[in-house]
C-alpha cells in the first residue's frame, strides 16, 4: 500500500508478536537443548530438565501445583481436550447420556466440541444471558443434573465480557461439578486469582500473550477424568501423547510468567487507551454502540456495533489506512457465520461489528490516529451503504 502512515495493530485478541525474552529463551532450546525428553542420554536429560522447569514456572505464574500443568499444542486443543475429553470419559462409563454445559458465548473450540460430544451420545445444554449477565439460576439447575463438565470462558474473545467466575466456581463447587474455563483472553489482562476462583480445568495459550503460536496448556486438577484425544505415547502422563515441544513449553512458560507479572500495570495502561478511544469515538460517531458497555469487561477489547455499515467493507477501509482490526473475531472472517456472542447480547440486531483489541504494540500517542481512522472509515462505509 502506498504512502500510508505507520500501520497500527489493533488485533491483539487475534494474535500477538512473540516478545524478545520469549524468543531468547526458546532459541536456546532449539539450538542446544534439542533432545527428546524421553531419551535417557544427556541430551534427553537436558531437554527434560528444560521441560519440567517450564512446567514449574507456568505453575508458579498461575499459583497452582506443577503436576496440574499439561502442555498441549494450543488453545483449541486444550478446549477440545477439556470438553470432549470429559464427555467421552463420561460416555465410556456408560451411565446414560452425560450432560455438557456451556455458556452461549463460548469460543467455537468449546462450543463445537460440546456439539461434537452431543453427536457422540452426550447432551449439550447452553446457558444463556439476560441483559448481558449469565443466567446463574439456569446454571444451578443444570449443575443439579451432575453434568460431566461445565465450560464457561473467563473473558469473551469478541466483546471482552468478563464472566462472573467467582459465582460460576461457587455453583460448581456446591454441586461438585467439574468446571472448565477457557482463559486465553484473560491471562495477562485480568488477574485470575485461581485460589479464590478455583476451576478444575483451565485453558491457556501462548500466542495471545506474546508467546509462540501452537503452544498451550490445559490445567487439570484431575487428569484421570479426561479421556485423551491423541494416542501413541505416554507423554504428558498420557493426557497429551506425542514428543513434547520443549521450546514451545519454555516459550509459553516465559510468556505466562511475564504476562502475570505485568498484569496490573499492563491492564491499567490498556484500559486507559481503550477507554479514551471508546469515549472519543462515542462522541464523534453517531449511532455507535459499545458492545458490553456497562458490563464488566477486560481492558484490551473494544467491540463496536455499527448500524448502517457492513463489516467487510469497514475492515478493508481500515486496512487501506494501515489499521489492523477484525470483525467479531478473526476466526470468523471470511465466513459470514453470525456471531453467537453478539446474538446473545444483542438478539435480533444486525449492526456491523468492529473489534479493536489493544496490546503491547499500542501507545497512548496512537489514540488520535486510531480515532480519526476509525471514524473516517465508518463514515465512508456508511456513505457507501446508503448509495
Amino acid at each position: 500500500m502506498q504512502g500510508i502512515a505507520e500501520p497500527i495493530y489493533l488485533d491483539h485478541a487475534a494474535t500477538t508478536p512473540v516478545r524478545a525474552e520469549v524468543i531468547a529463551a526458546m532459541s536456546r532450546c532449539h539450538a542446544e537443548d534439542f533432545g527428546n525428553p524421553s531419551s535417557g542420554h544427556s541430551w534427553g536429560r537436558r531437554a527434560r530438565r528444560r521441560l519440567e522447569r517450564a512446567r514449574a514456572s507456568a505453575a508458579t505464574a498461575l499459583g497452582i501445583p506443577a503436576a496440574h500443568v499439561f502442555f498441549t499444542r494450543g488453545g483449541t486443543e486444550s478446549d477440545n481436550l477439556a470438553v470432549l475429553g470429559r464427555a467421552r470419559h463420561a460416555i465410556a462409563r456408560g451411565t446414560g447420556a452425560p450432560l455438557v454445559v456451556t455458556s452461549s458465548i463460548e469460543h467455537p473450540a468449546v462450543f463445537e466440541a460440546a456439539e461434537q460430544a452431543a453427536g457422540e451420545g452426550a447432551r449439550h445444554a447452553v446457558i444463556g444471558f439476560s441483559n448481558g449477565v449469565l443466567d446463574l439460576d439456569a446454571l444451578k439447575a443444570a449443575a443439579r443434573e451432575r453434568p460431566a463438565v461445565v465450560s464457561c470462558m473467563w473473558v469473551n474473545n469478541e466483546v471482552g465480557l468478563e464472566l462472573p467466575m467467582a459465582d460460576i466456581s461457587e455453583v460448581c463447587r456446591d454441586h461438585d461439578v467439574v468446571l472448565h474455563s477457557d482463559a486465553v483472553q484473560a491471562v495477562g489482562k485480568v488477574p485470575l486469582a485461581l485460589r479464590d476462583n478455583p476451576v478444575d480445568l483451565l485453558t491457556v495459550t501462548g500466542h495471545k500473550i506474546h508467546g509462540p503460536t501452537g503452544t498451550g496448556a490445559l490445567i487439570a486438577t484431575d487428569p484421570g477424568g479426561l479421556q485423551p484425544l491423541h494416542f501413541g505415547g505416554g507423554q504428558e502422563r498420557g493426557v497429551r501423547p506425542g514428543t513434547e515441544d520443549v521450546a514451545g513449553a519454555v516459550g509459553l512458560a516465559e510468556a505466562l510468567r511475564l504476562a502475570v507479572e505485568e498484569v496490573e500495570a499492563e491492564s491499567t495502561r490498556l484500559r486507559a487507551i481503550r477507554d479514551t478511544v471508546q469515549a472519543r469515538l462515542a462522541a464523534r460517531v453517531p449511532d455507535l454502540r459499545i458492545n458490553g458497555e456497562g458490563l464488566p469487561r477486560a481492558p484490551h477489547i473494544l467491540s463496536l456495533g455499527i448500524p448502517g455499515a457492513d463489516s467487510d467493507t469497514l475492515l478493508a477501509a481500515l486496512d487501506a489506512q494501515g489499521i489492523a482490526a477484525s470483525g467479531g473475531s478473526a476466526c470468523a472472517s471470511g465466513s459470514s457465520a453470525p456471531s453467537r456472542t453478539l446474538a446473545t447480547l444483542y438478539p435480533g440486531e444486525t449492526a456491523a461489528t468492529l473489534r479493536l483489541s489493544f496490546g503491547h504494540l499500542n501507545r497512548a500517542r496512537q489514540v488520535d490516529r486510531i480515532v480519526d481512522s476509525v471514524a473516517t472509515a465508518i463514515e465512508r462505509t456508511r456513505e457507501f451503504a446508503r448509495q
Binding site: 500500500m1 502506498q2 457492513d310 467487510d312 467493507t313 475492515l315 478493508a316 477501509a317 486496512d319 487501506a320 472472517s333 471470511g334 459470514s336 457465520a337 472509515a377 465512508r380 462505509t381 456513505e383 457507501f384 448509495q387
Partner: protein, 370 residues
C-alpha cells in the same frame, strides 16, 4: 489497456480462477496499486459442500484468490454481496424460469454486482477503477471509451458484458483483452500462480451441482407451475405427451419425440400460462423478427434503419440485421437471414464490427418462415 503514465489504485475482481489471477498480476506488473477482492455471493453452507468447492466462487475460490494475492503482495478482501446478488441475480434467475424464459445469470451479475457493487466498495478503499479477467478490450483512444471484443475470438466474453453501466466504462480495466487463453495460462505458469492449471468453471456459481431444477425447487414452491407437469404439444396444438415442469426446457433445445419421425423436433415455445411446451420441426424454430427489451447502451443507440450485428448466444456467430423500430420498452430487429433458436430470456448483444454497442434481453420472436 492499462499502459497509462499515472499508476492507479485498482480493485480487481478475483474469483480464484486463472483469468482473474493473471489479470491481477498484469496490473501489478504495470505498476498499479492493486487491491484484490472476491465476492461472496451466496451462502454455501446449505449447498453440497463437495460441489461448491469445485467452482470458482466456492470457498476454495476465495482461498485460491487470497493465495494469489499473497503471492503478488497485494491486499485481498472478501466482500459479502449476498444481499445484492440475491436481489439482482438469483431472484431474477428464478423469476425468469418461472416465466418460461432462459436467463443469463452471469450477465446479470456483470451488469450489477461484479462491477457496480464492487466499485462502490472500491471507492471506500480509495480505488479509481475496477478490473476483471474478462476477455474483452477497451479502446480509450477516442472521446468515449469503446468496448471491443476480446482478441481471442474463442474466448471473447463481450456477450456477457453488455449490461455494464455506461458511465462505469472509463473506470474499467480488462488486462486480458489482448491475450489468448493459451498466453494467459502460460503467464500464470511463469508467475508460478497456484491457479495456473485450474479447470474452467462451467456451472452457474450458485448452482454448484449443475442441477438448476433442484435449485428452483428450493426457491419456488415444489407445486409452482414451472415445476408441475404439463402438456407437450406440437405446433398445431396436438398433445404429444406430458412433461414434469416447463422450467426444464429451453427454446431451441432438441426434443426427442417418439412416433417414428425422421427429423428431430425442437422446443419452439414455452407457454407458462398454460404450462404447455410447444415442439415442432426445426424450420419452425427460425425467426426473422426479434424483439429485445431491458436495453442498455454502451454507445449511442443506432437510429431505426441502422445495420448492426447481433449475437444471441455465447460463442455463436454474429448475425447481421437492421433496427426495425424503437418501441417504448426496447426495440425490434429484422434479421437479414432467419435464425434458429432465438431464446426468450437470453441476451441479445448489439455489435458494430468489433465494438459492443449494447444489448438487451430477448422478449419474443416472430416471422418464422413456415
Amino acid at each position: 489497456m492499462t499502459d497509462r503514465a499515472k499508476p492507479l489504485r485498482i480493485l480487481v475482481a478475483m474469483s480464484g480462477g486463472v483469468d482473474s489471477s493473471v489479470a491481477a498480476a498484469l496490473l501489478v506488473e504495470a505498476g498499479h496499486d492493486v487491491v484484490g477482492a472476491t465476492m461472496k455471493t451466496f451462502c454455501y453452507s446449505g449447498e453440497d459442500e463437495e460441489a461448491s468447492s469445485k467452482t470458482c466462487c466456492g470457498l476454495d475460490g476465495i482461498r485460491d484468490a487470497r493465495g494469489v494475492a499473497d503471492e503478488l503482495g497485494i491486499p485481498h478482501y472478501v466482500f459479502d454481496v449476498e444481499e445484492e446478488f440475491t436481489r439482482d441475480v438469483i431472484d431474477d434467475f428464478v423469476a425468469e424460469y418461472a416465466e418460461g424464459r432462459t436467463p443469463n445469470p452471469c450477465v446479470r451479475c456483470n451488469s450489477n454486482t461484479k462491477f457496480r457493487d464492487l466499485f462502490k466498495r472500491g471507492r471506500v478503499l480509495g480505488c479509481d477503477g475496477v478490473a476483471s479477467g474478462h476477455y474483452v478490450r477497451l479502446d480509450r483512444s477516442g472521446e468515449r471509451p469503446r468496448m471491443l471484443r476480446g482478441r481471442d475470438s474463442s474466448k471473447d466474453q463481450s456477450y456477457f458484458l453488455w449490461g455494464l453501466p455506461a458511465q462505469l466504462l472509463r473506470r474499467l480495466h480488462f488486462p486480458l483483452g489482448d491475450l489468448t487463453k493459451t498466453e494467459v495460462r502460460e503467464r500464470a505458469r511463469r508467475l508460478g500462480l497456484v491457479t495456473a492449471a485450474k479447470p474452467e468453471s462451467q456451472e452457474i456459481c450458485f448452482v454448484p451441482t449443475g442441477n438448476y431444477r433442484d435449485f428452483l425447487a428450493r426457491k419456488l414452491l415444489p407445486t409452482h407451475p414451472a415445476l408441475s407437469s404439463g402438456a407437450i404439444v406440437d405446433h398445431r396444438g396436438r398433445v404429444l405427451g406430458m412433461h414434469h415442469g416447463y422450467s426444464g426446457f429451453t427454446v431451441g433445445q432438441r426434443k426427442g419425440i417418439g412416433g417414428g419421425r425422421t427429423e428431430p423436433w425442437y422446443v419452439l415455445e414455452i407457454r407458462a400460462a398454460t404450462r404447455e411446451v410447444v415442439v415442432g420441426p426445426r424450420h419452425l424454430l427460425e425467426a426473422r423478427d426479434v424483439r429485445v427489451g431491458e436495453l442498455n447502451w454502451l454507445a449511442p443507440p443506432p437510429p431505426p434503419g441502422s445495420r448492426l450485428d447481433i449475437q444471441i448466444r455465447y460463442r455463436s456467430p454474429a448475425l447481421p440485421c437492421s433496427v426495425a423500430a424503437h418501441v417504448p420498452d426496447g426495440l425490434t430487429l429484422a434479421l437479414r437471414k432467419p435464425a434458429a433458436a432465438v431464446t426468450p430470456g437470453q441476451s441479445c448483444v448489439f455489435f458494430s464490427g468489433e465494438e459492443v454497442l449494447g444489448g438487451g434481453r430477448i422478449r419474443s420472436v416472430s416471422g418464422a418462415s413456415c
